[in-house]
């Protein structure tokens, strides 16, 4: 596998990495015959971003696939987002100093080598460690959406700038003639104490305004900002695909050499959603990731394995923060989800442990400990209910988190299995 990126595109690559960093902590790297895919998903699986760089983007592109063009190389991995960001640290000087960027798999097959050839003969080499991973494949069809808006990214960026940077969610309502952006208020927030911002855009401000269903959706703005900053610098028109609430919204950029898709979950109208519904809309993926999976069992807490190679501390933040008490339906980034809600916890952990033992011995140990726990014991900190928000990590960043049906959460400060054993034994 070898890719070479020439001067001006190195900055584009760097910007793509930085915009994905707004979504999650891990970068999924997959060289396909159709191009290099860089993907990221957030911890609660409610936001997904993908940059697909076609072979034309590169000065040289070899995905490592066997000749014939029928198969892919099968190489896919994920790396800590911070590590990859380090390679493209100083964005502003990238186009001035870097002449070429080479990405290779090292002969030993255990390091992804990013080599930047800079001015004055200086060479910067980064040997990044990675974890083999399953493919991150969301399910969405841009064609099936009732509403499609397309505009210059400047328009959306200018709209979004009026909302405070801390705003988590925005509500977008569309009618035949106009679209309205409003900040979304949590149920428990008192409207009289909050600042409400509303922006209206006319249909004629858009390059294309196709509304077949008058509807309103609410999604998380934070993850979109990364795409907006990339889109602005690229100057490519941004398309927005959506229809009824609950169905994910897709933002896309299209270019002959680059395809960008960001899929964000939207708030569903219903207060309660059954897993069945959710599962139905999220067809099972063939690949089950050993690392991250969603348990849809209403009665039990879900287990989300931490996959960060760097360390437990990075593990937890509920990046979307505010989805605690509302069920957020996400058909989106349903990457590698086990959709069968009837599956018990044990087989899941078993599947998880077997795959990941070599990667993270300590974590799989604690998984096995989990199996021995009695049902009803409070979950350990790393277990998170994705769409219930009833189990929260002490490290989550959202301010409005409430714990429901919670006794004491094991306050393990690190993933030391012995400590956790002790703590669970105490309960």
């Amino acid at each position: 596998m070898r890719c070479v990126v020439a001067t001006s595109n190195v900055k584009v690559l760097g910007k793509a990495v930085h915009s994905l960093s707004r979504i999650g902590d891990e970068l999924y790297f997959e060289p396909l015959s159709s191009g290099l895919a860089l993907r990221c998903v957030n911890s609660s699986r409610s936001a997904y971003g993908c940059f697909l760089f076609t072979p034309l983007f590169f000065q040289h592109y070899d995905s490592g696939a066997p000749p014939g063009g029928l198969e892919d190389s099968g190489f896919r991995c994920k790396m800590g987002m911070k590590s990859v960001q380090t390679v493209f640290k100083s964005l502003s000087s990238l186009d001035k100093t870097v002449e070429k960027c080479e990405i290779d798999l090292n002969p030993g097959g255990n390091r992804l080598v990013f080599q930047l050839h800079c001015k004055y003969g200086i060479t910067k080499t980064h040997n990044l460690s990675f974890q083999e991973s399953e493919s991150l494949q969301p399910v969405f069809q841009k064609d099936g959406y009732a509403n499609v808006l397309r505009a210059q990214p400047r328009l959306l960026a200018d709209t979004v700038v009026h909302f405070p940077p801390s705003l988590e969610e925005v509500n977008v309502t569309v009618s035949g003639e106009r679209v309205q952006f409003r900040n979304h208020l949590e149920d428990e927030q008192d409207a009289s104490k909050m600042m409400l911002t509303e922006m209206s855009l006319d249909a004629d401000e858009f390059e294309s305004f196709q509304v077949r269903e008058e509807t309103g959706i609410t999604f998380c703005l934070k993850e979109l900002r990364g795409l907006l900053s990339f889109a602005e610098s690229s100057g490519l028109p941004l398309s927005m695909y959506f229809d009824q609430p609950g169905r994910p919204v897709v933002f896309g950029l299209d270019d002959p050499v680059l395809e960008v898709n960001f899929v964000l979950a939207t708030l569903s109208d219903e207060e309660t959603t059954t897993h069945r519904e959710r599962n139905r809309s999220r067809p099972p993926q063939a690949d089950t990731s050993h690392d991250d999976f969603l348990s849809d069992d209403m009665d039990s807490y879900m287990i989300a394995m931490e996959t960060s190679a760097v360390g437990g501390a990075e593990a937890q933040p509920c990046s979307t923060g505010s989805d605690q008490r509302r069920e957020r339906e996400s058909d989106t980034a349903a990457c590698s989800t086990r959709s069968d809600h009837r599956r018990e916890r044990e087989p899941v952990t078993a599947a998880c442990s077997s795959g990941s033992k070599q990667q993270r011995g300590r974590e799989s140990e604690s998984e096995e400990e989990e199996e021995e726990e009695l049902p009803g014991t409070p979950p350990q900190k790393r277990f998170r209910s994705l769409f219930f928000g009833s189990v929260l990590s002490p490290y989550s960043q959202g301010a409005n988190q409430t714990l429901r049906n919670q006794e004491v959460l094991a306050e393990a400060s690190d993933s030391d299995p012995e400590e956790q054993e002790e703590e669970t034994a105490k309960k």
Partner: protein, 281 residues
């Protein structure tokens, strides 16, 4: 009633008098070595040398030659005292740290000798401030015994390129490994952090490389925490010389041009973290 606990002295008794029209010519250099609170001042007829040390492994020296000063008189062969560098810098920048074009702070520094405070007269725009800073027993400074005859490898680089490399260094790495060799990779900075290893290579014929004199392949590691303070000096300088001797001791010499275009030098000495004989992969 005098607040000072040290003796007062008259002008004629000053052992050292140094005056500058622009106090920034002194304060900027001192800021570059301010990684510890205390510094040792050594004044001779050549000028002033200010030394700051850390954990017996790192030493920084700033040299301000007598020619830099508008007035420089010394009554003894050498005058040495220890003073709180943070306090001194606060006084030197008492009229504000930021540079306003056309406005400079004038400085007259006076010292009467052992037991007397260091007196600073600072003037800007007609306003005069007098600061008296208590001095302390000078502590013996380390002698790294770094002499040119033992130097095995030496390179002189333009600071711009090194500055960028240093700012991008992986700080999760505990050490910075420096490889110097007459063969490839010539001059390499390596880090070993959480995400993997990173190397920055400078070829010997690079435009940024002013002098390349490497006789032997050497790889040495230095604690990142010790070298971090040197980035301040790097950002001030226009050129830097990097030398290692037969023991793996590192000498970094920074050439700094002050506001008036005069040259001063800052030097860092650092002990290696561990003996690394052969080049590591």
């Amino acid at each position: 009633m005098p607040l000072s606990t040290q003796l007062e002295a008259g002008e004629e008794q000053y052992v050292l008098i140094a005056s500058l029209d622009n106090a920034r010519n002194l304060s900027n250099i001192l800021k570059a070595i301010q990684f510890k609170d205390h510094a040792t001042f050594l004044a001779t007829s050549n000028g002033i040398k200010v030394t700051v040390e850390d954990s017996k492994c790192l030493q920084a020296n700033a040299f301000i030659q007598a020619e830099i000063f508008q007035e420089f008189s010394i009554q003894e062969d050498s005058v040495m005292f220890r003073v709180n560098l943070a306090v001194l810098l606060d006084c030197l920048t008492i009229f504000g740290g930021s540079a306003v074009p056309g406005v400079t702070t004038a400085l007259k520094m006076c010292y009467n000798g052992y037991g007397y405070p260091l007196t600073l007269f600072l003037e800007e725009g007609g306003v005069v401030t007098v600061c008296k800073i208590n001095t302390q027993e000078p502590e013996e400074t380390l002698d790294f015994d770094f002499c040119s005859t033992n130097v095995i490898n030496k390179v002189i680089l333009q600071s711009d390129s090194l500055r960028e490399a240093f700012s991008e260094l992986d700080m999760t790495s505990e050490v910075l490994q420096i490889t110097m060799s007459p063969d490839k990779p010539y001059f390499r900075l390596s880090t070993f952090g959480n995400s993997g290893s990173a190397h920055c290579d400078y070829p010997k014929d690079s435009d940024m490389m002013e002098v390349f004199q490497c006789t032997q392949t050497q790889t040495n590691r230095y604690k990142m925490s010790l070298l971090k303070p040197s980035t301040k000096a790097l950002s001030l300088s226009c050129k830097v010389s990097i030398r290692t001797d037969n023991r793996g001791f590192l000498s970094l010499q920074y050439m700094v041009r002050n506001d008036d275009g005069q040259i001063c030098f800052i030097e860092y000495f650092c002990c290696p973290d561990e003996e690394v004989g052969e080049q590591e992969q």
